[in-house]
Amino acid sequence: MPTSFFEWVAFFVNKYGLFFIQGAGTTIFIASIGTIAGFAIGLAVAVVRTIPVEENDSLARKLFYKFVRFIFVAYIEIFRGTPMIVQAMVIYYGSAELWGLDMSPMVAALFIVSINTGAYMAEIARGGIISIDKGQYEAAQSIGMTHSQTMVNIILPQAIRNILPSIGNEFVVNIKDTSVLNVISVTELFFMSKSAAGTYMRYFEVFFITCLIYFVLTFSVTRLLLFVERKLEGPDSFVIHGSQTVPQAVIKGGRE
């Protein structure tokens, strides 16, 4: 049996290495799909929630929007406000017990993580939208764009850049939150570690490995998002087209 910390680490890597990698695979799969789907849900919810209701809209329309907004607020509050472990159990076991629905754990997991992330993303996206100068919205309206056209073409592209750091947070949280899914028997990284740790009652060594894997996962994700952030900021220079003073010139402009 190993005696020192690092001997233990080596021991676990040897014995459980494959499982760790398998678990990490599941984790990153669920987290990625969940974050992307949640992001889409969040944007959609935020876009709908920001539809302006005008005074001269018909009563039916007003009531309809009121209702839709209420539904969305309820969705956000309920899915943010309750622990994911409970959501997982209610959706997975509850649906089986009540309607005899036989979801596979993985499908349930993807569904739960997406819908849960969506609730957080909806608020993040709202923050992003209110951070954009009102003039941008007005200018788009003034050329006749509808609310959704304005959002998709003008507001969201700018908002997304501002909220990327928060989206990174969500992704990282998802990588770690998948751990509660073992309650519906999804076997991801944290569950693997717990099995290994619990069997030998060596928490620090196993979690050292787990943390390293988590860290590598989240770090890569962060760097990736930082890269996206730079991309969204756009290039530093532009090309001057067919300048008349300097014919054929391809001059670049830059920014600080």
Binding site: M1, M89, Y93, A96, N182, T187, G198, Y200, M201, R202
Partner: protein, 253 residues
Amino acid sequence: SVKPLSEDELAVGLECNYAPFNWTQLDDSNGAIEIKGGGGFCGGYDVEIAKKIAEGLGRKLVIVKIEWDGLIPAVNAEKIDAVIAGMSPTEERKISVDFSDPYYESDLVIVVKADSEYAKATSIQDFKDAKITAQLNTFHYTVIDQIEGVKKQTAMESFPAMIVALSSEKIDGYISERPGAISAMASNPEFTFVSFEEGKGFVASPEDVAVAVAIKKGNPNISAINEILGKISKEDRQAIMDNAVKTQPALGE
């Protein structure tokens, strides 16, 4: 280097949510002890044993409520003196902590729904094709392999989770020790459990079915604890367990 634990107190760590070994209740009835830092009183078989050990060592018993995964780190960091939490002294665990002699031995049963076909089973082999699981990080989970052709499910974090899985019929049964099964039945009348005669049940090494006190490696109190445990006869233990099963909140009132 660690600040020595108080010589007057015996700090014992457990979860207080594994009836009938340990549970949480509202008052000190039936000999329950107040949990350190508030949060109610902890009673159960483990607590009765802990009391006897504390008494034998001449110390005052302090109950510290800690999540399962924190128990061993806590004893190793000397935040507590001992873990008395229905923990089995497996080979693997012995690498990290020292264990006393066992203070209880039980047999393994399978909890099923009372109206299921498996309720009439007599041998573990009758569970062929059944979806069976057990708690994560217990030997219960490993013995499932002894059932031929079983559909072994992923291990689960906790007993309540398994109970939910069972009542929604995502699983057909889960492995438990007899006292736990009694508790589960008490509050879930739609459940029953199947026990097995000699030779038809699970084969388990004695240390797996036993539970023992865990203490930090090299702790000299081990012999004193063993001596105290040695004085509690098999009959006494069964009496204490019977009492715990009877007085646990799920059966109370």
